[in-house]
């Protein structure tokens, strides 16, 4: 079945450092979504990428979708303590009837030291 691998599993940074998490799918994706989960909270949607090579920015966050639509990355510039949490990528399989079903990566747990 479809697999979405995400690395690293953990990342510790000093406040002000940059952070990147990477996501790779075993199959071509229709789109990829990113979610953030604060400690003790639930996943919250951040963004969706649909087009090959697409790049989107949200303030200090930059999201990229690979040309082959099989990989993606999230980069945070100058991390802040408010960035702590787990970041998940989630891919929707290309083709077929997937009922909006997403396959989530394992998540990257980000810790920011002040």
């Amino acid at each position: 079945g479809q697999q979405v691998m995400q690395i690293p599993q953990y990342q510790h940074v000093q406040e002000g450092e940059d952070f990147t998490t990477y996501c790779n799918s075993s199959t071509t994706l229709s789109n990829i979504q990113w979610y953030k989960q604060r400690p003790g909270g639930h996943p919250v949607f951040l963004i969706q990428l649909v087009k090959s090579g697409e790049v989107k920015k949200q303030k200090r966050l930059t999201f990229q979708f690979g040309e082959a639509k099989k990989n993606s990355s999230l980069h945070i510039t100058a991390t802040q303590t408010t960035d702590v949490g787990t970041y998940f990528c989630a891919g929707q399989l290309a083709g077929g009837t997937s009922y909006g079903k997403l396959t989530f990566g394992q998540g990257t747990i980000l810790t920011v030291h002040p």
Binding site: Q33, P43, F45, A90, G100, K101, L102, F104, G105, Q106
Partner: protein
């Protein structure tokens, strides 16, 4: 606007007992999902539903049963709880008929099986 709610928020049960986790959404979303979250595994799909009376298995369905008699409710039942089902369970919903399958998550149920 209540959004999506789950109950109970915390549950301790014994091995072999049947337990039902409730999920209710007020948006009339067609699609609903049940995930379990375990460290190192991210979010794994248990069951999903495209509409009332339409359900299908996800990645880890064994030991679980779902029903969807009404659009707004999607209960998850553990028929005979096992310790391996100790986890945090999230319900989610998303709209139908749109290209954006963003999922909205409930607050989660933390289940401990002793």
């Amino acid at each position: 606007d209540a959004g999506i709610t789950q109950s109970p928020r915390y549950k301790i049960t014994e091995t072999g007992r049947q337990v039902t986790l409730m999920c209710h959404q007020t948006w009339s979303h067609s699609y609903m999902f049940w995930y379990r979250q375990d460290l190192g595994h991210g979010l794994r799909l248990i069951y999903y539903s495209a509409a009332a009376d339409i359900t299908d298995k996800g990645e880890v369905p064994d030991g679980y049963v779902v029903s969807r008699s009404k659009t707004e409710n999607f209960p998850l039942t553990l028929e005979s709880a096992t310790r391996s089902q100790t986890s945090v369970y999230f319900c989610a919903s998303s709209e139908s008929g749109t290209s954006n399958y963003e999922q909205y998550f409930g607050p989660g149920t933390r289940l401990t099986v002793t």
